[in-house]
Subunit: 212 residues, 2 copies
Amino acid sequence: MEITRTSLQQMEKRYCATLINSLPGFKCLQLVGTISENGHSNVGIFNSIFHLGASPALLGMIFRPQSEDHDTLKNIKRTGYYTFNNITESFYQKAHQTSARYTSGCSEFVECGLTEYFITDFEAPFVAESTIKIALSLQEIIPINVNQTTMVIGKIERVLLSEDLIEPDGNVNHQKAGTITVAGLDSYYSTNLIAQLNYAKPNVPTSIKTEF
Amino acid sequence: MEITRTSLQQMEKRYCATLINSLPGFKCLQLVGTISENGHSNVGIFNSIFHLGASPALLGMIFRPQSEDHDTLKNIKRTGYYTFNNITESFYQKAHQTSARYTSGCSEFVECGLTEYFITDFEAPFVAESTIKIALSLQEIIPINVNQTTMVIGKIERVLLSEDLIEPDGNVNHQKAGTITVAGLDSYYSTNLIAQLNYAKPNVPTSIKTEF
């Protein structure tokens, strides 16, 4: 079937939002940990995260319009520090529950049954249950005028993970890490490594580097 | 183990790039179809794609520095139109092969064994093998000064997919669609739907909407 722009505009609003959110496929899913002005820990689930560069190591994320009131963005702006924490099948329901609109001052760690984890010299909380924990410092905030969203760019400061998740070439094995992914807002998927392919060159047949 | 910023800076360059690229987990993987000034079809694999908004329906993508010379970005800027096409396990090696540096004027469709597909009143080519095809129009280009990357924002104009891939609530079932995902630059993963969860509310236990 073909969906035109006109038919998109005529769709029921929530149906359309669900369709558009799920259309492009799998997303990078992270629990984002921050700390509020009065020292309360905050954690929220985000799926609009993307790689921006390796040197310096930068990750981007998108906040919806009206996120100024959102604790996570407020805390990132105030402290300059936040964490990304991967989600595994063993606690994905707790991670999803952090998307509920808890009142400011409530810790989603407590409300959702997740465990906060701190390291020395880094203000923001990690999620203890996560197998890959990334500490970030705020680098830049870019307002996106076309739809009033906000792009937040952070630099990777520190990474906590088990050494055996890193392959000899530096590649992180997310199957071993148990990382899951999401399509749309609420459909969670586990993954299965097909293969790691070699660097592609013109006129050289595609080849498998590591098969699983 | 803990990886510090200092140890990141001291890592061998390619190892570090592989680590940073793979660290945040799964990404939205698309073949991007464009057409060049002289009518040549072009297709390239991208994994830096993200949802930006549902109304209007916007998708973002990141181009690396020096992408001005890149056919895909050049073609998007010139024509204002491009396509996103999902990747399935049956042709992921051909999709990966499009990342080889073919000379300008070569069609990656021909070189990599993919089939171009056109619809009336839309200039850019789709990938026939893809089960979800999205036609986009360029909305905005945002230079990201912190690392000289470029963000390209497109609006969804038309969508081609089989009706049975859309669930009653509008959610696209990517397991049915066979969509795969990638971590890092070269590790391809198939997926397995765990569950679709209900909208989370404070003090209401997380619940499963659809189990698979």
